[in-house]
């Protein structure tokens, strides 16, 4: 197995773990953490492809990863703000109990 394939497999496994966390956990904060894990797995793919690309000095994959990290940080801030706002309204972060769009 080439090193790139090994990195891609690790990223795929981490993505699946994050997806399982986002889809199966009841707590809204854990769902956000699962989404963060999926974004990180995508970043690992980008950096691995950059490292083994024929022209790494073009910096394309690395720039993509840097901007992806910045967007993920903004997503985490807004997502956790939403969770705190929902908790203040519904007094719970249990997604099985938050099942109404109407406040």
């Amino acid at each position: 197995m080439t090193p790139l394939a090994a990195y891609l497999l690790v990223a795929a496994l981490l993505f699946a773990i994050g997806l399982a966390g986002a889809l199966t956990r009841r707590n809204a904060i854990l769902v956000l953490i699962g989404i963060e894990l999926m974004l990180n797995a995508a970043n690992l793919n980008l950096v691995a492809f950059w490292r083994f690309s024929p022209h790494p000095e073009a910096l394309t994959g690395m720039m993509f990863a840097i901007f992806s990290i910045a967007v993920a940080a903004g997503e985490a801030a807004v997502g956790l703000g939403l969770v705190i706002s929902i908790y203040r309204h519904a007094r719970t972060t249990d997604l099985d109990q938050i099942n109404r769009m109407k406040g």
Partner: protein, 166 residues
């Protein structure tokens, strides 16, 4: 493939699994910090020093702390009663396993065509900075605007209502 890669990959995967499976949310936050650390070390192993240190600063320094704040503010740190998994957990698990099966199948089938060992890229932080204010200056400005909007939006969304005092 060095032994370093296997240690770091095991650390990252173990951190991710512990995040999804642990019961106490504070323990989950600590486990996800370990997963972020393992990813940062994997970036360093891939000779992407800037991304690795940015990962440590942003994820371990900011996002993990933000997650801990959210856990404590929503009083999710108490031991949950009942199951920690939702009613539809079986379907979620099947979907995640199917996604991993498809991704793994694609990687293994195309492993022959993937490039093998290549020379260590000679990229310095100076090059990255020059590229950020040169070729990638427009995305940089857009990200600056996005982060400003996200910060203001997060504060407004999480702010107390004045009409309904808690």
């Amino acid at each position: 493939m060095g032994v370093v890669f296997y240690i770091l990959a095991a650390l990252t995967i173990a951190g991710g699994l512990a995040t999804v499976l642990l019961r106490n949310l504070v323990h989950c936050a600590l486990a996800v910090t370990i997963a972020f650390l393992g990813l940062a070390l994997l970036f360093l192993a891939l000779d992407a020093q800037f991304v690795g240190f940015a990962q440590i600063i942003i994820y371990i320094g900011a996002v993990a702390i933000l997650v801990v704040f959210a856990i404590l503010l929503t009083r999710s740190s108490d031991q949950p009663h009942g199951s920690i998994f939702s009613r539809t957990w079986l379907m979620g698990l099947i979907i995640a396993a199917a996604v991993f099966a498809v991704l793994g199948w694609a990687v293994i089938r195309s492993a022959r065509a993937l490039p093998n060992e290549s020379a260590v890229p000679a990229v310095t932080v100076h090059d990255i900075g020059a590229a950020l204010v040169g070729r990638y200056v427009l995305p940089l400005e857009i990200v600056a605007l996005l982060l400003t909007a996200a910060t203001i939006g997060a504060v407004i969304v999480a702010m107390h209502d004045r009409e309904t005092p808690q």
